[in-house]
Symmetry: C2
Subunit: 340 residues, 2 copies
């Protein structure tokens, strides 16, 4: 007894010193985020809704987090990556369609004349989607997407497109999940374009991906069940469509919503206004021309052509207390380190 008591007391002192001094403090959940008001706001919110002694406590089942994809979880310049996929796909299919050499918008795609393609407006886009995204089964399309996403490279960075996800956002998704949140993607992009790779890339399984879709049709083909992708729009998951898609797929209001453009405005409104729970709105501002791209309303930046972040959205963010993440100052790194 005499021998053991001083040892126990010493141990107690040691433990107190370690915890008080920070040696036992939890590791930083967001290591790629610079210290500052943005990071603090995120962590304080998460701690507030997960602390059982807080009056703002939210049960795990209600901790729904929704993230836009293009420009929020990965880059979207110089064009949406799904559009790059579609254009590559037109080139792959061209040998089977000799008539495309003389037909817009395909002619423009094959000749690299994007102005001619865009001149056709929405009609051209629908023609390209129909030619590249429909006419096969869902399983065939999944294979086509996987082949592209595992090989196609971005013209500026030389990275695979799937390597152009934002490292700080990967950490934020993981932090939210470790805090009992269920993380969802809610994107204007195609649901079946994202699902084949979101689980491996973001840790988000297919059933937690919400997106735009074309119609499908069930049939037994040679006795085997398939879903055939039809050239007809089913749902556009953008702007007012995002709350509709969230309600349809999730059936609960998010308490955390992240976006980067006017297409995300209604999702953030749906999450943060008049929500019985505390809720967090986050907008990514692309203000880092050196490490990524700069577009949006910030001083000296040109107006955006795609993924617009208009001044009215910035005004609304200030009015409603949404947190604006400036990539330049808030993020230590943009992309994950490349695997050798």
């Amino acid at each position: 007894m005499l021998l053991r008591t001083p040892f126990a007391a010493l141990l107690l002192i040691l433990v107190q010193w370690m915890s008080g001094g920070g040696l036992l403090r939890a590791a930083d959940p967001l290591p790629s985020w610079n210290d500052g008001p943005t990071k603090t706001a995120i962590i304080e919110f998460v701690e507030r809704v997960t602390d059982k002694n807080s009056q703002d406590y939210v049960k795990p089942a209600e901790r729904i987090a929704t993230f836009d994809n293009d420009g929020t979880l990965w880059s979207e310049q110089p064009m949406y990556f799904q559009l790059a996929f579609a254009l590559d796909r037109v080139k792959s299919l061209a040998p089977k369609h000799p008539e495309w050499k003389d037909q817009q918008p395909f002619k423009g795609v094959l000749e690299g004349d994007l102005k001619a393609v865009m001149a056709g407006g929405e009609k051209s886009l629908v023609q390209i989607i129909a030619a590249t995204h429909a006419g096969m089964t869902t399983e065939e399309f999944e294979q086509i997407v996987l082949e592209w996403i595992n090989t196609a490279k971005h013209p500026k960075t030389g990275r695979l497109y799937r390597e152009m996800v934002y490292q700080p956002q990967l950490e934020l998704l993981a932090y939210l999940r470790a805090s009992g949140f269920k993380t969802f993607i809610v994107s204007g992009g195609g649901i079946e374009f994202m699902r084949p790779w979101t689980e491996q890339t973001y840790g988000i399984p297919p059933e937690q991906v919400v997106g735009s879709s074309i119609k499908t049709k069930f049939e037994l083909r040679d006795g085997k069940p398939v879903l055939v992708r039809l050239p007809a729009i089913n749902f556009i998951d953008d702007k007012e469509g995002k709350p509709v898609g969230i309600n349809s797929h999730i059936g609960r209001r998010p308490i955390f919503a992240a976006g980067n453009s006017a297409g995300d405005r209604q999702m953030l409104e749906y999450a943060t206004i008049d929500n019985p729970h505390p809720a967090f709105g986050l907008l990514v501002l692309h203000d880092d021309a050196k490490r990524e791209y700069a577009y949006g309303p910030a001083d000296g930046l040109p107006d955006s052509k795609i993924g617009t972040f208009p001044q009215s959205l910035m005004d609304e963010a200030q009015q409603r207390g949404w947190t604006v993440v400036g990539m330049k100052h808030d993020w230590k790194v943009i992309y994950p380190p490349l695997k050798k």
Copy 2:
């Protein structure tokens, strides 16, 4: 040592006896299922896909189970319970619609003349749905459903409708979840009619409910975000629609699918034919006129009017090796004990 060894040996013998003799055997996961080929088939399948040493092992993320609702998880006689809800709703709303006294199908509902209602066919049904399911916000509709489901009683049993869920199926759902499955409802019923109570009743959260839906529209009403339910069909989650709904909401093929009628045929085909994983198809046969209802193709039973289980489905079940659950012989009890 001399004293302790005999004791340890005794303990070892005791433990071996207890485990060998069944005292330490795992508790029966399906206590309301009678022993027999049906129960054995279910348990053998679950053990096969969850045993890491089995070549049929399926990773937890791929363990998707989909259940029809009406007639599979709860009763559906003498009419779909959602139809009973709609008729009750017409009666509640009647004072605000004096014109209904002279207008079919509402006149028929108010006078209890269901033949007159049904004479109007699908058009009448759509009118009733529009009058009772649309025109309010999703949150208002949720409250209306909750009020009904917590008070309305079945004409024959006197139970609350929500107490007419099948006890053996509650155990099956729990057993699958305990075995790493993610359980979904995939029903022809309305998605927003089910979601308010499925979590408490079945342990299935709103984001795992797939069903038929009407269109909704996002708007800021008095500055607050709402989704307004519109009198327009969005999606019918029945027959060929079930695989479409599964793909849209889940994005993976189920490896366990349960239904009870021709409306579930395509879901079971989608799950069990040409699936790279082992898959289980289950059909509930209502052959118990005494404890529940009897309808379907079995000897001496009348052809079904709703929730049809035609002979062709029975033939397909035999051909494809789907397991048919006979309520009369396979289930010890039908409904859960009533809470006092």
